[in-house]
């Protein structure tokens, strides 16, 4: 763990940081959801951190714990060669977390993946759709309570036609392909 990173983090006194811990030689920072975008912006822009690369966004499901979900962000600084892991809680009743796409554009697909597999809602995401599975899929398969032997219905052409028409409308709209 980079000691300069810890001191920089301490000197900044960022709002919304709940806990700073070390896990297997890496820094783990627990953040409140409301402060996530602000913390991420500081981590990206402050020259002491310079986290210019969001490596991964994923989530962990802890059944029985409150909050049940933990959204995990892996950050890396290409400039300073250090890493940090951010963790944000999301409750089962309303699994909402602010989107970090305004901070790192690469978060777009990563957040879509996390939404697809865990059903985490990223508020402010420009296009929060399933990315791996199809729209008719029921449930979120990486949740611990997803039934292991659940069979999904085979999609017929009649099922996809409304979705195809909607996608066509999206493509025809002026917003298509534009960012924010």
């Amino acid at each position: 763990m980079s000691q300069s990173l810890v001191t920089a983090l301490a000197s900044q006194a960022l709002e919304g940081i709940v806990e700073v811990a070390e896990s297997r030689g890496e820094l783990v920072v627990r953040v409140l959801p409301v402060a996530l975008v602000e913390v991420c912006t500081t981590l990206r822009d402050d020259p002491a951190f310079a986290f210019d690369f969001l490596m991964d966004v994923t989530a962990v499901d802890y059944p029985g714990r409150e909050p049940r979900f933990e959204v995990v962000y892996h950050l890396y600084s290409l400039k300073l060669n250090h890493r940090v892991r951010l963790k944000v809680g999301a409750s089962e009743a309303s699994p909402h977390v602010p989107s970090v796409t305004p901070v790192w554009r690469g978060a777009n697909w990563l957040e879509r993946e996390t939404y697809d597999m865990y059903g985490i809602q990223f508020d402010g995401h420009p296009d929060l759709r399933r990315i791996y599975l199809y729209e008719e899929f029921e449930g979120h398969p990486l949740r611990k309570d997803y039934p292991k032997e659940k069979r999904q219905p085979l999609v017929t052409r009649a099922d996809v036609e409304p979705a195809q028409q909607r996608r066509q409308r999206e493509r025809d709209s002026e917003r298509y392909g534009r960012w924010q």
């Binding site: 199809y134 085979l154 052409r157």
Partner: protein
Amino acid sequence: MSLLNTMPEFMVTTKVDEMLNWTRKSSLWYMLFGLACCAIEMMQTGGPRSDLDRFGAVPRATPRQSDLMIVAGTLTLKMALRTKVLYEQMPDPKYVISMGSCSNCGGLFQLAYSVCDGVDKVIPVDVYVPGCPPRPEALTEGLLKLQEKMMQEKWLVRSTGESRPALA
């Protein structure tokens, strides 16, 4: 017999059905439809060592030019409808070889949340090739079986109701 004896030696007699089937089975163009690791074995089968080309089977990159679809690999539920669309785009008469455990029945991934348990849930299959993945020899055998099946088809006398004769 007397008529045959009067023919010159370079002439051969056959049935029209057999000749049609012989020409069809000898230019069986298959669509490239590799979905998973079976595709690697399919490439080997089409490659120089196993050489599927010697049976007249050459790969095509579009369903419009294909007679045969070799479904090689795990069929996901998301891909199932697309497979059906591609099958419908192929001109008749068309055939399907299901290659490997995954496309036969879902295989190792049968109970996975995203996998369709068998391509025969979506399109009709003529020959199932078992294996995980099948060796090139097995796929070649599957193609030969399909050719046998094609040779039994009747084109001049169409039987009502029955579509394709079952493999003996």
